[in-house]
């Protein structure tokens, strides 16, 4: 049985696409056949972050409309086995995704894949609803900042009331909190909400903390999911997150201010 995981947040620009790319790649690296579906209709970006923007021929909406089949549309990752991308359409028609159409495509993907990762658009409108509706699990991407936390709480409300699982009275969506762009230095100075603060307010299980990191911009510049940068802090934090998603117990890292070493102090780190 395929597991459908939505990566969602309410607020835009918090790291949903970065996280979808990293987690999807991580699941595939762990040997699970994974597809990342870009639900951000009109604002396709997952292709860029995954470095496959030149290989897009058909898209999600083409498949829904029967203009192409999944085989023609799915893009196979060139670096990682078992990893595929379903790109979003660039159409401006906001109602291009229908519940029936999305369900049909997800059902077809479910026959072939272990994990279906849905990269949600921002907001709480139909696009975001579509991305979360069929989910079994949710990764709620949150920055340690007031508006992001508040929006996450609204999305958590929707997960438990507006999803298929809620409407059909099934067991609820498993919710995971992923705190991103975390800056331990600012937390220590009392300028940023801490992991504990956000956990206490949102009251869902913590799946990972991704530090604010240079590596993320480098990764997006080169079209390489940051999880493939194994030496980077963010890459390692995403690797830990994927292991936790797969049920392993892994201690949190990168939560405290690291003392700058001698070399770093001289040359700047």
């Amino acid at each position: 049985m395929a597991k459908i995981i939505v990566v969602t947040s309410g607020k835009g620009g918090v790291g949903k696409t970065t996280s979808s790319a990293a987690i999807g790649t991580g699941l595939a690296l762990a040997g699970h056949k994974t597809v990342i579906v870009d639900f951000d209709i009109g604002l396709r970006n997952l292709d860029l972050i995954m470095g496959c923007e030149r290989r897009v021929v058909y898209d999600f909406v083409n498949v829904i409309n029967g203009e192409a089949n999944l085989k023609q549309t799915l893009i196979k990752d060139k670096r990682v086995d078992n990893l595929f991308i379903l790109p979003a359409s660039q159409t401006r028609d906001k109602d291009a995704l229908t519940k029936e159409g999305v369900e049909r495509v997800l059902n077809e993907l479910a026959q072939d894949f272990d994990f279906i990762l849905c990269d949600s658009p921002a907001g709480i409108e139909s696009g975001a609803m579509m991305a979360l509706y069929f989910a079994d699990e949710a990764v709620v991407v949150t920055n340690p900042e007031v508006s992001s936390v508040r929006d996450s709480d609204r999305i958590i409300g929707m997960l438990s009331s507006k999803s298929r699982r809620a409407e059909q009275g099934l067991e609820g969506i498993k919710e995971h909190l992923l705190l991103t762009r975390y800056n331990p230095e600012r937390v220590q100075k009392g300028e940023m909400l801490s992991v504990e603060d956000v956990k206490e307010i949102l009251a869902i299980e913590l799946i990972g903390v991704i530090p604010e990191s240079q590596a993320v911009l480098n990764a997006s510049n080169s079209g390489q999911p940051v999880i493939m940068d194994k030496d980077s802090d963010a890459g390692q934090a995403y690797l830990d997150t994927v292991q936790r998603l797969l049920g392993e117990k892994v201690p949190l890292r990168f939560l405290t201010v690291e003392k700058k070493g001698f070399i770093k102090r001289i040359f700047g780190g």
Binding site: E145, V149, D153, G157, G190, L193, D197, I201
Partner: protein
């Protein structure tokens, strides 16, 4: 208080302010979500009626509907009046 103390005390912990504000607004919005859809409009209507008589700011009124049991729901209306009445 010495001048030095003044500058020291000015360095406030904004994270704790953020946390307090979030706890209040999130609790408020959760309560509202769990209530019926007409609650916000009911709250606005009640606010309008009261404002015909007393000028109160919007955050001084709170309406909540609490389900006490299967047969009993209680509509609770909390209005803080200003000291000086018009």
């Amino acid at each position: 208080m010495s001048l030095l103390d003044y500058f020291r005390s000015k360095k406030t912990n904004t994270a704790s302010t953020a946390k307090e504000r979030l706890q209040i607004i999130v609790a408020h919005e959760r309560k509202r979500r769990s209530g019926p859809d007409y609650l916000p409009q009911l709250e606005r209507d009640i606010l309008e009626v009261i404002r015909k008589y007393v000028d109160i700011p919007a955050d001084q009124i709170a309406v909540s509907l609490e389900q006490r049991s299967d047969e009993l729901s209680v509509l609770e209306l909390n209005v803080t009046f200003p000291d000086e009445k018009r």
